[in-house]
Amino acid sequence: MIPIRLTLNGEPVEGTVEPRKTLLDFLRVDRTLTGAHAGCEHGVCGACTVIVDGVPVRSCLMLAVQTDGCDVRSVESVAASDGTLHAVQDAMRQEGGLQCGFCSPGIVMTLVSVRETVPDAGVDDYRRAMSGHICRCTGYRGIGRAIERLAGVRTDDDRIEQEAHR
């Protein structure tokens, strides 16, 4: 068992983990933060994505011991403490970017990361980042529209106008 110290969602955290324990299991089991999901456990689907030292990572492919000394952010930290959704979460909701919601926390973390790290991120920046995510429910239609909203090329008015056309 290895002792680790990290910053998790802004709070200092200490843990003792087996060397083989994944970051995903550390978050879900040891820290009861169940927002990151085990979708494939081989780094393809992206449902387990969290942000480590500013970089989105697959928590299923990272070992908990590797986060010793790191700053780890999971989806639970994204919304404001009063429950107000982050712009990424709000865009996903407004545009029907989720159905079953299992893949969504990972997608939220990747899009949050783009928003924080790419100045004036455009549609293509967000879409490229989505290459690391699989969604089985939505056909990506709502996610694509959420991305357009985040990139500033789709507004509330577009959604309202679309509604009026129905």
Binding site: C100, I134, C135
Partner: protein, 755 residues
């Protein structure tokens, strides 16, 4: 964008109300089965067969039993002693017509596919369970099995109790008149299509926590589309009364048919938990999900179409869909192979639609008629309704001709043909694929005959509706709040909707069959209407008014805006519970209304999808540029949710034609074991989707028709037709799936064997 009619007098119905589900799901506060932990909970892992067929000579569990953290190891011998039934027909299947093998949770002396569960290990953590599972040594005597369905009938028995590997044979009776029609027809088109094996691959795999108390009662958390069937299934397996088992599904991470069933793995976990008397969790890993969970498709179909000299249908040997076909017949059989079994996958009629719609394009090519024109000549017209099909199905309130024309108009059909011709001259290969269908949605028979809404207005005026139909991402919580709020005349914020727990609501058929919106929606609507009547009856007495003078709007019962004869729903509710002497003479106290809705046997949706694609003839790569949907699923409760359902189905259809393929080698070893080899569609594979809605109400309380499965049913043929249309100048005709770049390229280069 074609505008559906607005719904007069509704406040929430027909609007894209944002989903109530989303806040928890987007912030990491969902409640999927793997998010639950119980005190003392243990974790299970399976030992699975490494061969496709063979006898088990020995299982050595001694090292596993002493492995760190292991609480128990069970093989079939121990588990099956506590397993009470050996087939789970549940009234869905007629045992006199279908040959169903005896089923056991674990392998019973022999293994039948790679991944067949042989033993279950239960330990203090999943890591330790998997460590121990690796220490179990199974000795097999391998036998020759069968992998390809084409070889199944000549192969050695897959199941010892089924002689020729035939699951069923069925079809229409012999019809000499049909034979004569084909013999005399001006044109006969014969078409065979082979569809590869898929899997539904919901992002959340299967999962279960089974917990037994010291008395014989069980609580099971299950990734389930259908908690009531699961409860019965589990209860029968362990010999408990149905009422001694409680099944809870929290949030369900997609199902698509897979989670409509309880499979052997889950039953093994239930029995293990019963033997140990501690909660046991098993979460399927993705490798298991791709190799042992129930799979889908893997079908071959041949259809024959007979036309007169003008391209009008005379007869068909396939389900007739949206066309006027005077005579028809069909035959079908299923076979067993040494691969995982198949389960439901979004949706029924998919293979028939695939076969018929690709055959329509083959017919168009053979008859020299444009594929849109051939469909126009044969599609059921709205002015011909009601229409009775050749197999006696009564069709009404459908618009297949109008959705065909709507999709063609939105596409700019003629302009596309001009552009296609111009670009062909430049060596670019664009194609257009049409696919039309009618879907008998919300099949309502046998165990799926009805659903119940149990509505209460609480003493504070808050409304709760317990629904027997569930949700696996369908947004049922939101849509049923819309239906209930409008039926009652209260604010949507006052309405809570609950489902997915057998302890809190009566029997129902869960989520599946494109049924929830229509069936549970009908139940909620009628329950709400009756509740409204009761509220008004009470208010009439309290206000000394006639009931017909009163209405409910925004939670207030009054005789009109500005009237001082008014009372809040909350005040009426308080009186109904706490002051029943003030109620009308003889009225039951409280505000509880239950309505069980048994809808018509089928409700028909219709649609035409048009796919515009371009094929790169150097690489064989297919790029889809546009997707147009002209559809009629009746009243739209929530357009954004409806379009989301259709778009998701289209993505599964595109993936199924171009990408997804469960492959085996000749020995039955799975080759698609991860998302690196089972190619799921990504955001780059799905084009923008354009919707046009017609909204012809169904003859049901809400006017809704089923829509959940339609996209997945109709989409595949549109993709194939687009690719074949693109490559028609090269004489290419593709009818074996998937249309992988290598297969498309081979066809372009003249190899039609389907490498």
């Amino acid at each position: 964008m074609n505008a559906p009619p607005t719904l007069p007098g509704t406040r929430y119905l027909g609007r894209s109300i944002l989903r109530g589900e989303d806040h928890n799901l987007l912030t990491g506060h969902g409640s999927y089965v793997d998010d639950h932990a119980l005190p003392g909970m243990l974790h299970a892992a399976f030992v699975r067969s490494s061969i496709a067929k063979g006898r088990i000579l020995s299982i050595d569990t001694s090292a596993a039993k002493t492995s760190e953290g292991v609480v128990a190891v069970f093989t079939g011998e121990e588990i099956h002693a506590h397993h009470k039934v050996h087939s789970y027909l549940l009234g869905i299947i007629d045992p006199s017509k279908v040959w169903v093998p005896r089923a056991y949770p674990l392998a019973d002396g022999d293994v039948k596919f790679v991944g067949d569960p042989v033993a279950i290990v239960v330990a203090e953590s999943r890591y330790l369970a998997e460590d121990a599972a690796e220490k179990i040594v199974v000795d097999y005597a391998p036998e020759a099995g069968v992998v390809d369905l084409a070889d199944a009938e000549r192969a050695p028995r897959v199941h010892a109790d089924i002689v020729d590997n035939i699951g069923f044979r069925t079809g229409s009776p012999p019809d000499p008149e049909l034979d004569r029609t084909f013999a005399d027809a001006a044109h006969v088109v014969e078409h065979t299509i082979r569809q590869q094996r898929h899997t539904s691959a919901p992002m959340e795999t299967r999962g279960i926590i089974a917990s037994f108390g010291v008395t014989d009662e069980a609580t099971v958390w299950l990734a389930s589309q259908d908690v009531h069937h699961a409860r019965r299934w589990i209860a029968e397996a362990i010999g408990f009364p149905e009422t001694a088992v409680r099944v809870i599904a929290g949030d369900v991470g997609g199902g698509f048919g897979l989670k409509y069933f309880v499979d052997r793995d889950e039953l093994a976990v239930v029995i293990a938990a019963k033997l140990i008397r501690r909660p046991v969790k098993w979460i399927e890993d993705r490798g298991e999900n791709l190799t042992v969970a129930g799979q889908s498709r893997d079908e071959e179909a041949t259809c024959r179409l007979a036309f007169d000299a003008d391209g009008h249908f005379l007869a068909a040997r396939v389900f007739t869909g949206p066309y006027r076909v005077p005579r028809y017949g069909w035959q079908a059989k299923s076979v067993y192979t040494n691969t995982p079994g198949r389960v439901a996958y979004r949706g029924p009629w998919m293979m028939e639609t695939l076969c018929r719609e690709t055959a329509m394009d083959k017919a168009a090519r053979q008859l020299g008629i444009d594929p849109l024109e051939l469909r126009r000549r044969n599609i059921i017209r709205t002015d011909q309704l009601p229409w009775t099909t050749a197999n006696g199905v009564h069709l009404d309130a459908i618009t297949p001709d109008q959705t065909l024309e709507l999709a063609a108009e939105m596409t700019g059909y003629a302009a596309f043909r001009d552009r296609q011709a111009a670009l062909r001259a430049e060596g670019r290969y664009l194609g257009l694929g049409i696919s039309s269908y009618i879907e008998p949605s919300a099949p309502s028979r046998g165990i799926s005959r009805s659903d119940v809404a149990e509505m209460r207005v609480e003493p504070t005026g808050s409304v709760i509706v317990h629904c027997s139909a569930g949700s696996a991402g369908h947004g049922i919580e939101t849509t049923m709040r819309q239906v209930a709020a409008d039926a009652l005349g209260v604010d949507i914020e006052q309405v809570a909707v609950r489902f997915g727990d057998t302890a809190t609501v009566g029997y129902g058929a869960g989520s599946g069959g494109s049924r929830q919106g229509m069936v549970i929606g009908g139940a909620v609507k009628v329950a709400g209407t009756r509740m409204r009547e009761k509220l008004i009856a009470i208010a009439a007495k309290l206000l000394d008014a006639a009931p017909e003078e009163l209405d409910i709007a925004e939670g207030v019962i009054s005789s009109g805006p500005g009237s001082n004869r008014r009372i809040g729903v909350g005040e009426v509710a308080r009186i109904a519970y706490f002051d029943p002497e003030k109620l009308p003479e003889g009225m039951e106290s409280g505000l509880d209304i239950t309505y069980r809705y048994a809808p018509p046997m089928m409700t028909f949706s219709n649609a035409t999808h048009i796919c515009l694609a371009e094929v790169d003839t150097d690489t064989g790569f297919v790029r889809i540029d546009r997707w147009i949907v002209g559809e009629d699923c009746g009243v739209l409760i929530n357009p954004q949710i409806v379009e989301g359902q259709v778009a998701g189905g289209i993505a599964q259809g595109i993936g199924g034609v171009l990408l997804e393929h469960i492959r085996y080698d000749d020995e039955g070893t799975p080759l698609s074991v991860s998302f690196k080899d089972y190619m799921m569609p990504t955001i780059f594979d799905i084009p923008p989707i354009e919707f046009g809605h017609l909204c012809t109400p169904s003859p049901t309380p809400t006017g809704v028709k089923g829509v959940g499965e339609g996209g997945a049913i109709v989409a595949p043929a549109a993709v194939i037709n687009a690719v074949n249309d693109a490559l028609s100048p090269l004489g290419v005709w593709l009818d074996k799936l998937p249309l992988s770049p290598s297969r498309v390229l081979a066809a372009i280069e003249g190899d039609t064997t389907g490498a």
